[in-house]
């Protein structure tokens, strides 16, 4: 993408180029004006600039702002975990596994079913941490299985076909899993059992909900484990080799098929973990749970630079914070009413903006050899 842009720079600029430049400038101006108006508002509540577009704008108190950032970070960690699956599969196979968001949904559903069964048995209240570890393990196993079966049934036969074919297939898989969840488990939203107070309430000392701390800690730990697996084990080395060039890797004696299955398995396990985190944060799950977080996680993978592990996590955090803070920070001072309804639109806008401004993401892409040309 970058290479082609450079090659073009000598060519005459077309209408589309002008339009794109205009869009880039417009996006940056919008963001800058919004942030400026917000900052000014915080400093001086009555200044005319802040009141210019939206006379009702009140700004945020410090505690509100902190709350938004923290909830953004917690959700961002979850997006980051899902984004790992997108990023790794894209790095190895060069296609977007659109159905990965549904694997996450399956994880959240599994967690819901298991935790409700545990709650019926009375274990959920008496031993919360133990039960949590148990549902995490169950959900990771189920999601790994789903991801591996998905690869075997839908994607492996299509390897080497034109690149839009597996993408369309993955849309079909996503549609299928979503609707399978409706017909098997019913279309209604389902609740997680009640969690202990220390998870639900704000901590007295640091004023953060226990669930958010839990989510951040779990995400950080699993990210560390994954980093170790990919960078310091033989299997991880094989994954990186296949991502670099599958053919050469095969010549070096790496079992490419098995490595790809491993990539799907790891991605699935991470999505399963993220599903449980979703359950802890929102305590409710429905068949469409996977769609929006899936798209946002994909955006996160792109923002961080696809094929890049740390990038996926960083991208997840940026998307999470952007969608949580963005509407109030940028849109409200500009006079948009009902901003919280637009948080999903903001997440999509971040994706589009990043692809317009810096398509390779923050840390640059790591793509299979064939896709780099």
């Amino acid at each position: 993408m970058i290479g082609r842009g450079r090659a073009r720079s000598g060519a005459p600029r077309t209408g589309v180029d002008w339009f794109l430049t205009f869009m880039r400038v417009a996006i940056l101006t919008l963001v800058a004006v919004g942030i400026l108006a917000f900052i000014w508002q915080e400093i001086d509540t009555d200044n005319p600039f802040a009141r210019w577009a939206n006379p009702d704008a009140t700004g945020l108190t410090g505690a509100q702002f902190r709350g938004l950032i923290i909830s953004g970070v917690a959700q961002g960690c979850m997006y980051g975990l899902i984004a790992l699956g997108y990023s790794m599969v894209y790095g190895v196979l060069g296609f977007i596994n659109f159905a990965h968001g549904e694997v996450f949904m399956v994880g959240a559903m599994t967690g819901m079913i298991t935790s409700n069964k545990l709650a019926d048995a009375g274990l959920w209240e008496s031993n919360f941490i133990g039960s949590l570890i148990f549902i995490v393990i169950v959900s990771m196993i189920v999601c790994t299985l789903v991801a591996v079966i998905m690869e075997r049934v839908a994607y492996r036969p299509l390897r080497g076909s034109p690149r839009l074919i597996p993408l369309i297939t993955s849309i079909g898989v996503s549609f299928f899993i979503q609707n399978a969840s409706i017909v098997l488990l019913g279309p209604a939203a389902k609740a997680y059992p009640d969690v202990p107070d220390w998870v639900k309430d704000k901590h007295t000392f640091i004023q953060i909900e226990g669930s958010r701390i839990l989510v951040v800690v779990v995400a950080a730990v699993s990210m560390g484990v994954l980093w170790y697996l990919v960078e310091h084990t033989k299997g991880g080395k094989a994954m990186r080799a296949v991502a670099e060039d599958a053919e050469i890797a095969a010549l070096m004696g790496i079992n490419v098929n098995r490595t790809i299955v491993k990539v799907f398995a790891v991605g699935g396990a991470m999505a399963g973990l993220a599903g449980i985190l979703w359950g802890i944060l929102f305590r409710s799950v429905i068949h469409t749970t996977g769609f929006l977080p899936g798209i946002k996680a994909f955006s996160a993978a792109v923002v961080g630079g696809i094929g890049h592990l740390g990038g996926a996590m960083a991208g997840g955090l940026s998307i999470g914070v952007a969608e949580s803070v963005g509407p109030l920070l940028i849109l409200e001072p500009l006079g948009v009413s009902g901003v919280s309804q637009l948080r999903d639109a903001v997440a999509f806008a971040v994706l589009i903006g990043v692809l317009l401004l810096r398509p390779a993401g923050i840390f640059g892409e790591r793509l299979p050899a064939e896709d780099r040309t």
């Binding site: 993408m1 077309t14 589309v16 339009f19 794109l20 196979l93 977007i96 079913i113 409700n116 069964k117 839908a154 492996r156 036969p157 299509l158 390897r159 080497g160 076909s161 034109p162 690149r163 839009l164 074919i165 597996p166 993408l167 369309i168 297939t169 849309i171 079909g172 898989v173 996503s174 549609f175 299928f176 899993i177 979503q178 609707n179 399978a180 409706i182 017909v183 098997l184 488990l185 599958a246 053919e247 095969a250 798209i295 994909f298 792109v302 948009v336 009413s337 009902g338 901003v339 309804q341 637009l342 999903d344 639109a345 999509f348 806008a349 994706l351 589009i352 692809l355 398509p359 064939e370």
Partner: protein
């Protein structure tokens, strides 16, 4: 990957095929493959049973009193597994043994394993209560599986049924190609008559042919079993007598040239148009409603076909143009529209709608056009969702009514002559038909124009197209705009037909359903796209519109998903493929075929292991 090759190569390969060897003994099975396939079948059976399909569809009778649609969903899996397990991979230079008792035994065993899944389920249903997560874990299902008897009966009967149906599936391989065609025609005739029941009854009423439907159908739905036998026999005889006639006619037409060809085509088109114009006069409300729905989706699918099929741009947010078309038509014509309400006549509004949607197409297209194909797909999906969220938001509710939508949209008046509104589906259908004709003409001319060739060049290889002097960016943008305009027609008609627009009519799943229609019918082929809409939307129904099998409404999206996967795996070129597109998709196989043939001729050794899967992605 071992799916059917296109005829161009298949014909050449067939000449070198060795004569079939003698059939194998019945017990010399590939047991691992058999059990694996049976297990997959068993899982599928249990999934179908737990999806509530059998219970829900039991009301819809196919052949009275022996078969309901519900039981058919349970029989189809062992049949398919039994048929599939006898499949032999034909490879150049490998002997193919003749079908015989081996196939039937294998099919029976495989079907029994698949049916065993239901036996196991019956036992579990009787002994455990998993109703908590699985909503369809019900005594009704247990009763249905056991035919009202005890559990042990269910266990035995499903093993027996599975084996019998599987053996039937295997036996299908024993038949020669002609007999097989006759059998398939018979099954299709009975199945088709059952599926089309509401349509046939409706039409027969209009044509005063109630006697026919009284003979054919039982009073509470379903074909009488005697009539089913008669129908099967008649269609079987027709199939035997008419064997090859259709093929002959087709090759005959294809061989025509010049003026003769034009005249034949013109006649065919005229005949189709005449049928479509006359048919609604005899049909009742139900048929016309159905035809109008199918027509709306034909319009949408033709628009998406320009984008996906011709230019090869995977646009997942196509619903955005449908939404913009609907909303702008609503705003321009309805008196109740919140902010702007010029109350234009529908045709005048349509011109403005086309301009607006074209501009929106440009606006959405311009930023995404340079992106990689798969990024483009996700970003267009994002745009589709953003547009729905904007229509839904409080921010713009002053213009578009937010979640309340815009209601009381007057129908489409054409030169003050007639007014088309939802209450009269026949007029809606004629309106849709006119626009479909326009859309078909436009896409047909475009496909053969300089622009159409440029689109196909871009689809096949963008870099090469650019090197040939095509301005790829402008060409792709034009595809976006043409697609958007065609979609806006559908949107404008939709809002006039329904009389109200709500943001929730424009969910992303509408885009996906249109995509399934285009892919199922055959990307890049106008006839294929129309056939795809007729079959899918007509039989299963659209995202919110019921089809002929109205009982399927809960399951149609599931089936759309499964269909999309299956089409991509087995037949990516679609039901009625465009010749050029299918060549493109099977390029690799053809190259491999040619290479293999060269190899076989050169040194005459075959290792038979060079499937496409053997090599990693190249």
């Amino acid at each position: 990957m071992t799916a059917t090759l296109p005829p161009q190569t298949g014909a050449a390969g067939a000449s070198a095929e060795p004569p079939p060897a003698a059939s194998r003994p019945a017990l010399a099975q590939d047991w691992r493959r058999l059990v694996r396939m049976g297990a997959v079948g068993a899982v599928a059976q249990v999934f179908i049973a737990l999806s509530n399909m059998p219970v829900r569809l039991d009301e819809r009778v196919i052949v009275k009193p022996v078969l309901s649609l519900g039981y058919l969903t349970l029989l189809i899996v062992p049949f398919a597994a039994g048929h599939r397990v006898g499949h032999q991979v034909k490879r150049e230079g490998m002997a193919v043994h003749a079908a015989g008792a081996h196939e039937m035994a294998g099919g029976a065993a495989c079907g029994a394993v698949a049916g065993g899944g239901l036996s196991l389920l019956a036992v579990l249903l009787a002994n455990f209560d998993l109703r908590e997560p699985l909503v369809n874990w019900s005594p009704m299902l247990a009763e249905l599986l056991a035919f009202g008897n005890a559990t042990w009966f269910a266990v035995v009967i499903w093993l027996v049924i599975g084996a019998a149906v599987g053996a039937l599936g295997g036996a299908l391989r024993l038949l020669g190609p002609r007999t097989r065609r006759a059998v398939v025609t018979m099954a299709l005739a009975v199945g088709g008559a059952a599926v089309l029941e509401p349509l046939v009854v409706d039409l027969a009423e209009g044509m005063r042919l109630e006697a026919l439907t009284d003979w054919l159908y039982a009073r509470r739905g379903g074909i009488n079993w005697t009539s089913a036998l008669g129908l099967a026999a008649a269609s079987g005889i027709l199939a035997v007598l008419g064997r090859g006639r259709i093929q002959q006619a087709r090759t005959h037409i294809a061989a025509l040239e010049g003026a003769q060809r034009t005249r034949t085509n013109g006649l065919l088109i005229l005949a189709t148009a005449a049928v479509l114009i006359v048919l609604p006069l005899f049909a009742g409300k139900l048929t016309n409603e159905l035809l109008a729905n199918v027509g709306l989706f034909v319009l949408l699918a033709l628009g998406l076909n320009v984008v996906v099929g011709l230019a090869g741009i995977l646009d997942l947010g196509y619903v955005a143009f449908f939404a913009v078309g609907s909303y702008s038509a609503a705003v321009l014509t309805a008196a109740t529209s919140p902010r702007i309400n010029p109350e234009l006549p529908w045709l005048a509004a349509l011109i403005v709608v086309v301009i607006i949607t074209g501009l929106v197409g440009l606006f959405i297209g311009a930023p995404v056009i340079r992106m990689r194909g798969d990024y483009l797909a996700i970003v267009t999906l994002g745009f589709g969702e953003i547009i729905r969220l904007l229509f839904l938001s409080d921010w713009l509710s002053g213009w578009f009514g937010g979640s309340q939508g815009i209601t009381k949209i007057p129908g489409a008046g054409i030169f003050g002559l007639t007014s088309v509104a939802g209450t009269d589906p026949r007029r809606v259908f004629y309106l849709v038909l006119a626009f479909c004709a326009l859309a078909i003409y436009v896409s047909w001319r475009l496909e053969r124009s300089r622009l159409g060739r440029a689109w196909m060049a871009v689809r096949e290889d963008e870099t090469v197209a650019e090197a040939m002097g095509i301005n790829t960016v402008n060409v792709k943008l034009l595809a976006f705009v043409v697609g958007a305009v065609l979609g806006s027609f559908s949107g404008a008609i939709f809002s006039a037909k329904v009389g109200s627009v709500f943001p929730n009519s424009f969910l992303i799943l509408v885009s996906i359903v249109i995509l399934v229609v285009v892919i199922f019918g055959g990307m890049g082929n106008i006839v294929g796209v129309i056939a795809g809409s007729a079959v899918l939307i007509g039989v299963l129904g659209g995202p919110k519109q019921p089809g002929l099998l109205a009982e399927f409404s809960e399951f149609k999206l599931l089936i759309y998903g499964a269909l999309l996967i299956w089409m991509m795996l087995a037949r990516p070129e679609g039901l009625i493929p465009s010749v050029r597109r299918s060549r493109e998709l099977h390029q690799q196989e053809m190259a491999q075929d040619a290479w293999l043939k060269g190899q076989v001729e050169d040194d005459n050794h075959d290792d038979g292991s060079s499937g496409p899967q053997a090599a990693p992605a190249t």
